[in-house]
């Protein structure tokens, strides 16, 4: 089931009495399935935050349509099922962590008795129980981010929108956040994630879309995007240069990347099988063979470059 549906969505910001206009989103089409982690990637200024804001009714679209749970995106009932962690969020610094959660929990429609229990649970989850009575102004960036995450999860949202959730968080904290998000996914919740830390996104997302200058330039699941279709990595028990002659290596486009590890190019299955047969006849044991992958970062950079050169 699709929980977010975006059709032909565009947003143009007009400033300076109509003289300057900036197209933040340009004919965006996107859908997100229930119970998945969706990553929206893009450079700074690509339109990622604008897209989330449009979905939440904070920014109004110029044209197009978007729906959450099949209904109007600014519907207040829908907002009860949504959690949001904005980028660079600011909590009132005169409140303690507990008071922040109490206020935003009430604003989300949670009842007092249920709320206090939930706050304790959330503070425990983000490991801020010890600091719950301290004023927010004494919190570090990482603590604020964890408090923000707790705030976003307080109402047991069915969809969680996270804008740069690991910003300013140390590696240990990042791993904890990833674990929390994975647990939420296990519970069937949908997570819409904006990030420019691609290695993070690669680890947890099911699907990603790459946004460039307001346009979706690629969408797909992470494995599809990062797979190099015709490249294979092979790990063997001997050094191939000693067992095969140079001509054979060249024929199969084999080159060494590490001790006992080689990359080979095979544009069709028969070609790959040819090399494997050759290795077997030479008595070489194949320990591992996998389709070679690019990192999400490599894919992202090459797509952006490709898009730039096209223009």
């Amino acid at each position: 089931m699709q929980v977010i549906e975006i059709e032909h969505l565009s947003k143009t910001f007009v400033s300076g009495f109509g003289k300057k206009s900036v197209t933040a989103l340009n004919d965006v089409q996107l859908s997100v399935n229930e119970g998945t982690i969706f990553g929206l990637l893009g450079q700074n200024g690509a339109g990622k935050t604008t897209l989330i804001k449009v979905l939440l009714g904070i920014v109004f679209p110029t044209s197009g349509d978007c729906k959450i749970f099949g209904t109007d995106y600014v519907n207040l009932q829908v907002k009860k099922r949504i959690g949001f962690l904005p980028e660079n969020h600011k909590f009132p610094n005169y409140l303690s962590g507990y008071q922040v959660l109490d206020f935003f929990g009430r604003l989300s429609g949670l009842e007092h008795l249920h709320l206090s229990k939930k706050i304790d649970e959330m503070l425990e989850l983000v490991q801020l129980t010890k600091w719950s009575k301290s004023k927010v102004k004494t919190y570090s960036k990482g603590m604020l981010q964890r408090l923000g995450l707790a705030q976003a999860m307080l109402n047991n949202p069915d969809i969680l929108f996270l804008d740069e959730p690991t910003d300013g968080v140390d590696p240990v904290g990042r791993k904890e956040i990833r674990n929390i998000l994975s647990d939420l996914k296990q519970q069937g919740r949908t997570i819409f994630l904006n990030s420019h830390i691609l290695s993070e996104v690669e680890l947890i997302t099911d699907r990603v879309a790459i946004l460039h200058k307001g346009k979706i330039i690629r969408e797909g699941n992470v494995n599809e995007l990062t797979a190099k279709k015709e490249e294979y990595k092979i790990v063997v028990d001997v050094e191939l240069e000693n067992s095969l002659d140079a001509e054979e290596l060249q024929k199969h486009h084999v080159h060494k990347v590490a001790p006992y590890t080689y990359l080979f190019h095979a544009d069709e299955t028969a070609s790959a099988n040819g090399l494997l047969d050759l290795l077997r006849t030479k008595g070489i044991s194949i320990k591992e063979m996998i389709q070679d992958k690019s990192s999400l970062e490599d894919v992202f950079i090459s797509l952006v470059k490709e898009e730039e050169t096209r223009k």
């Binding site: 804001k53 920014v59 949001f84 600011k90 005169y94 206020f103 935003f104 604003l107 929108f161």
Partner: protein, 265 residues
């Protein structure tokens, strides 16, 4: 209503943290202490028939003290409220609020009423305190002094509306403050415009402009006279003053709410 009340309480909390409203409260309490100390010294004056009727003297005491404190109270309250909207509209704050199941109108109403609420509490303590002090000291329990509470609240409601709209349009607490202070400054000049006109030969366009301003803008100066006129039975209340000021408040608030409803943040 629940959401408006929540945001109102949140705004009260914000204003307490900024300490300006606390300064107003301290000023009110100090004024009440001084009034309680000074009132017994005025008993012989108030009782003396040579200085007018005792009731009038007690009223002068009450009005004088209250208006003196209120004139600072308005300034302090504007100063405190001017930051509410700009701080709400800061990136990272407004996103959080608008992502919650709260309508924009409720959010803005909560912010507006939060300012009014704190002003009301302070003014209520001031006026009730003075009324009780004067009641015990002069045995003067006349209720004609109490409309001052309503009028001062209305006066501040107008200024708070102006602060709110300026804050929405400019996101600047400084400009919000200046606009409200300017309105307070211009109002007595417009009320005495006939005196100003007597120094102007010709210049009909300018006179027309000043007259238009007078009818468009709220009659803050005249509003301040209403409680005294009621207390001293001086003259009938000009309904036009209240109506045009109320209309101004409605228009300003409507414009502010519409703008907030339609804006991107």
């Amino acid at each position: 209503m629940k959401n408006i009340w929540l945001v109102t309480l949140f705004t009260v909390r914000e204003s307490i943290s900024k300490k300006v409203f606390i300064a107003f409260s301290v000023f009110v309490l100090a004024a009440l202490l001084v009034a309680a100390y000074a009132a017994p010294m005025m008993v012989p004056v108030v009782s003396s028939k040579a200085t007018g009727t005792p009731n009038n003297m007690a009223l002068y005491f009450k009005m004088g003290t209250a208006n003196f404190v209120l004139s600072f109270g308005y300034l302090l309250s504007i100063f405190a409220c001017a930051g509410f909207i700009p701080s709400l509209l800061e990136r990272g704050t407004i996103d959080l609020f608008l992502s919650k199941p709260v309508s924009r109108a409720q959010l803005l109403a909560g912010k507006y009423f939060g300012g009014l609420f704190i002003f009301f509490i302070n003014t209520f303590v001031l006026i009730a305190g003075i009324w009780i002090i004067a009641g015990f000291q002069f045995s003067h329990w006349d209720f004609s002094f109490l409309p001052l509470l309503l009028v001062s609240l209305f006066y501040f409601a107008i200024l708070n509306g102006v602060v709110l709209v300026t804050g929405l349009l400019t996101r600047s607490s400084g400009l919000s403050m200046m606009t409200a202070y300017m309105l307070m400054f211009v109002s007595p000049l417009l009320a005495k415009r006939e005196v100003v006109f007597s120094f102007m030969q010709g210049k009909d366009f300018l006179k027309g402009f000043i007259n238009t301003l007078y009818f468009i803008l709220p009659k803050l100066h005249e509003l301040q006279d209403i409680p005294q006129n009621v207390a001293f039975n001086r003259s009938d209340i000009e309904l036009q003053i209240i109506l045009t000021s109320f209309l101004f408040l409605l228009v300003v608030l409507y414009a502010g709410f519409r703008f907030f409803e339609k804006s991107d943040y």
